[in-house]
Amino acid sequence: MHSAPQPLHIPDGFLSVLVSLLFWLLTAAAVGYALRRVGKDLGDRQVPMMGVLAAAIFAGQMLNFSVAGGTSGHLMGAAIATILLGPWAAMLVMTCVVSVQALIFQDGGLLVLGANIFNMGVVGVAVSYMAYRTLQRLARGARWGLFAGGFIATWLSIEASALLVALQLAVSGVSPANVAVPAMGGVHALIGIGEGLITLGALAFLYRARPDLLLAGEERPIKGQFIWAFGLLLAFGLAVASPLASSNPDGLEWVAAQAGFLDARRASPFNLIPDYLLPGISNQALATVLAGVLGMLIVFAVTLLVAYNRRARRASD
């Protein structure tokens, strides 16, 4: 039922260990702060509300429809969670959604989970909140503020997450910024429109059925200047950094070389081709052959063990 992995969920192996750990730290700080704030906003209803809404976002991701050229619009959910629950609870909801996607469906890796939560949960929510609140203020309570805010929040959150993924890949030395940034940014500008339209449809439905759910946020405004500013800063930072990075990919590559020193420590064996390092290659080949033999022995031993065990069990039955 579950659709193909989405390009915003980075699998393990694509970010350097340093980048992964750095984003774990940032995520832990943001989620820790959200945890402290959320109790004040939602009270003891928080657990059932966040749990069921997280499940709804997860289930809502099954409702997709084709936009154009094989891309399909479907829910990432950060914007709608922000609109319905406020920024802090939305952050936790997205943290849970992204974690479960990684844990059960391997949609996104575990070591890079910190980065994935940060991209979709923390940044997606902060940017959504900034855009939604701003448009609502501008609209002064008029209905168009809700819908325009919802659409723009959705589009921006997707685009921001996508650009961040591109920059993370570039800093990890996996994909140069002048390729990754335009590719990710371009595709997600399209996907963002699809998701924005779904968000609009969902908001229109809720507005007709239960306007109180959407207006609740305005009646008890959550003190969110901090996250509003954070969202603005992120959106602004990405808007500046992405074109900069993609026009000067060498800058990030330099960072990648510094950050990825663990990777760089070891030169690739095929470097050693023709003239200058013949002795090295025999060494390398030998090690590989040995590893192959050892690996096969391990697998063979385990297979024997399992087969033996089964026979023993069958005999005892």
Partner: protein
């Protein structure tokens, strides 16, 4: 109508299934960390990592191909690393020119790309093994033991419980849409307005899903209150990890550390 296939867990009586979930969780994470730390081009280390993952698959009694098939899921993302083949400097293997463009495949580029793909692939296998051999409630236990905040664990538990219920509801909505749209196959042929219309339909379904979720959360909240819930996430103390499990953890971590050392030495 139930969505059982949302739950990847496959019940078996294998040694991997019987491993304490906390030990299994830590070993899977350590395995992925080891793969990530293994330098580029350390083919022998990759072979050994794969041998470990594959042995665990065999031990888990799931059939050798099961995990391999599922692990193909992560492959599309590999595309994002494709530029590495052309942009890494080094001895050139192959020149491709398409019109004015010229791309050079370099040897170190190809090696880095292959390393990355292999590392990612073995990591995904570890993740799959963890998910397939551990019932989700046990994963929650592992999360608690690893210090994930209680509130998050509680929300994830609720989320997992209602994932199935709401996914069933979403499926019913999708079926209702199919039943009402006679020529859904021709939907692509319609002009401009249809995209907005389709988005509206999908959005309306998402909206009704959220509405049901809200209403359900009210009822769950009442059910929780009725049983004394006071807003705090309370849990029973975790059972102790048995000595044999500690031993497994130690041996597993030892092997991985050894493998990492080898990867840098060879």
């Amino acid at each position: 109508m139930h969505i059982h296939f949302l739950d990847p867990f496959q019940p078996r009586q294998s040694p991997i299934h019987q491993l304490d979930p906390r030990v299994k969780f830590v070993l899977a994470l350590a395995f992925i960390l080891t793969a990530a730390l293994t330098p580029s081009g350390a083919w022998s280390a990759y072979i050994l990592l794969f041998a470990l993952a594959f042995s665990a698959t065999i031990l888990s009694d799931l059939g050798a191909s099961y995990v391999l098939k599922r692990s193909a899921l992560a492959l599309p993302f590999v595309l994002s690393a494709l530029p590495l083949i052309f942009t890494t400097e080094g001895a050139s293997l192959l020149d491709l020119s398409i019109g004015a463009w010229s791309l050079t495949v370099t040897q170190p580029g190809l090696a880095r790309f292959a390393s990355l793909a292999l590392k990612s692939w073995v990591s995904v296998q570890a993740g799959i093994l963890l998910a397939v051999t551990t019932p989700f409630p046990d994963l929650l236990v592992a999360m608690r033991a690893l210090g994930v905040p209680r509130l998050i664990v509680a929300v994830i538990g609720l989320m997992w419980r209602y994932l199935f219920v709401l996914a069933d509801e979403a499926l019913r909505l999708i079926r209702a849409r199919l039943a009402r749209s006679g020529d859904a196959a021709n939907a692509e042929l319609r002009t401009g307005g249809s995209l907005v219309w389709r988005a509206r339909v999908a959005g309306g379904m998402a909206g009704s899903l959220f509405l049901r979720a809200f209403e359900r959360s009210d009822r769950i909240y009442m059910a929780m209150l009725s049983r004394g819930y006071d807003g705090e996430a309370r849990t029973l103390p975790l059972p102790r990890i048995r000595p044999l499990q500690w031993l497994t953890l130690g041996v597993g971590l030892g092997i991985l550390a050894l493998l990492l050392v080898l990867a840098y030495l060879i």
